[in-house]
């Protein structure tokens, strides 16, 4: 017995016009859109660089122009050349120079040439050396930027503004008959677009059906991304908290009653919310969301604290402030107890004298320790 009714075939099943073909693996392709993160949220671009000194290039890469490579290899390398403009070039990583290929032994006409029988004395060729250790060869702007912002928007009022925007945009696309656009990628415009969308009036009837009134075409034009165009105009996708609060104090709240029973509508709204805020609704919660209010409640629900100490710090300040109660968020180790007593420094000094321990006592000889020392 089938218990779950099947969804109808989505009207936007075909590829959206803005969808680009996937780049072949290894082909340097510019990420054509910068971060969709709102201004209030900073992307955590923590990258680790090698501390090794850059070495000179291997011999096979130094004589780039005088290549004696076979035709097919040259062609393959040329595929990897950039055909982007200068502004995009700066955002890409810098590929190593074209490799040179040695002449085959059987094609050498020089009579004095004798092939080597051992590797001794031969110069080493091949490899990229320390090319990628140089940060200038792969700038941060060449990092992959995904559909979802890396950092989630958690502020309730910003989430409310984002849901209202996503809902309005989805409704107007549906109202204009562009249902195939519901599954396509939409542009991320700046604050002006956000204000224009929120200025549209959403009227909801008793059945939860909503109608958008206003200049729909102007907003819809900004949403649709033309093929090959960047879909981001500004990094400030969402307003600041103060602006969102000002909007909320004046806005009519009836839009929250909009029904999301239509699966295509719900998908488009949730997709857009994900693009704007980085919040992903887990599958098991999708079925429970029936209205915009339900979606908002799901998004605004603060995440469950992962540990008891986090929960106590957040909710039980009376317990934390008691003078005779001490909370430790992490396991109290033998080293911590020694530190509390002031014995730790003495133990370390004695170990150092005997050349027995070169790091902190609390750290076991683990893989992490290797990583800290820069080992593989």
């Amino acid at each position: 017995m089938r218990r779950i009714s099947r969804l109808g075939k989505p009207s936007g099943a075909r590829l959206a016009p803005a969808a680009r073909p996937l780049a072949p693996l290894g082909t340097p392709r510019a990420s054509t859109r910068p971060s969709p993160t709102p201004a209030a949220v900073k992307i955590n671009t923590l990258r680790f660089y090698s501390s090794r000194q850059p070495e000179p290039l291997p011999a096979s890469l130094t004589s780039g122009g005088k290549s004696a490579a076979p035709e097919e290899i040259v062609e393959e390398v040329e595929v990897q050349q950039f055909d982007h403009d200068q502004s995009q070039q700066q955002r890409l990583f810098v590929p190593p120079p074209r490799p040179s290929v040695a002449e085959r032994a059987d094609t050498i006409t020089d009579t004095l040439y004798t092939p080597a029988t051992t590797a001794e004395g031969l110069e080493s060729i091949g490899g990229l050396g320390s090319w990628w250790d140089d940060p200038a060869h792969w700038p941060e702007t060449s990092d992959f930027v995904g559909f979802k912002p890396k950092q989630k928007v958690q502020e309730p009022v910003l989430l409310e503004a984002a849901v209202r925007r996503a809902l309005t945009e989805t409704l107007l696309m549906k109202q204009l008959g562009q249902e195939e656009q519901l599954t396509g990628p939409w542009g991320l415009q700046g604050k002006a677009q956000h204000d224009a969308v929120l200025a549209l009036d959403v009227r909801v009837d008793s059945d939860g059906n909503a109608t958008v009134t206003g200049d729909l075409h102007a907003v819809a034009d900004g949403l649709v991304v033309k093929d090959g165009e960047s879909n981001v105009d500004s990094a400030d996708v969402l307003p600041s908290t103060a602006e969102a609060l000002a909007w909320k104090s004046q806005a009519d709240q009836s839009w929250k009653g909009t029904s999301l029973q239509d699966a295509r509508l719900k998908f488009a709204v949730i997709k857009r919310v994900m693009q704007l805020t980085g919040q992903v609704i887990p599958d098991q919660k999708l079925a429970d969301i029936a209205t915009a209010r339900g979606l908002l409640a799901t998004l605004q629900k603060p995440p469950k604290p992962k540990t008891l100490s986090q929960e106590i710090v957040a909710k039980k300040q009376d317990l934390v402030t008691l003078p005779n109660v001490a909370f430790s968020p992490k396991r109290v180790t033998r080293g911590d107890k020694d530190q509390a007593l002031g014995r730790y420094k003495l133990i370390e000094a004695e170990f150092r004298k005997r050349d027995l321990q070169d790091g902190p006592l609390s750290v076991p000889k683990s893989r992490e320790k290797k990583h800290w020392n820069g080992e593989a």
């Binding site: 992962k306 540990t307 008891l308 100490s309 929960e311 106590i312 039980k316 009376d318 317990l319 008691l322 003078p323 005779n324 109660v325 001490a326 909370f327 430790s328 968020p329 992490k330 396991r331 109290v332």
Partner: protein
């Protein structure tokens, strides 16, 4: 001149004059994920605040101990420790154990098989075969 010891006038007893709680510190360990710590986590959230307020003489040290059963360890002023595993217990049961640790003296648990115990010396004194009239056998 014979040397005479000072006569003992009184025996120091805790609670006569002043009372010093023997338990000085209570370590409370829990695990964030294990099911056996569910009662302990609830105890920390619901009962510990009131219990700590009522017992300001005891230092409470709460810290996680991942992948281990929840434990309460009482430290006493005689240098000894007493630990109780409170795995799978309800918060009210754990509160009883905390009270037990608080009220304990820290001494080893001894078997008491006499009806009366006293710290006072016997009024009769210790029996000696060289004193008294002797007994005709």
């Amino acid at each position: 001149m014979t040397i005479r010891a000072l006569e003992k006038i009184s025996v120091g007893q805790n609670g006569i004059g002043s009372f010093i709680l023997q338990c000085k510190r209570l370590d409370i360990h829990y695990c964030d994920h294990s099911g056996s710590s569910r009662g302990m986590n609830a105890f920390i959230k619901t009962h510990l605040s009131k219990f700590a307020q009522k017992n300001p003489a005891i230092e409470f040290a709460v810290s996680p101990r991942p992948r281990k059963h929840p434990v309460m360890i009482g430290h006493y002023i005689n240098g000894r420790q007493k630990s109780i595993c409170v795995a799978n217990m309800e918060p009210s049961q754990i509160l009883k154990k905390a009270e037990l640790l608080r009220d304990a003296s820290g001494d080893k648990v001894k078997r008491v098989n006499k009806p009366v115990t006293s710290i006072n010396e016997s009024v009769r004194g210790i029996w000696s075969p060289y004193h008294g009239n002797g007994m005709a056998v």
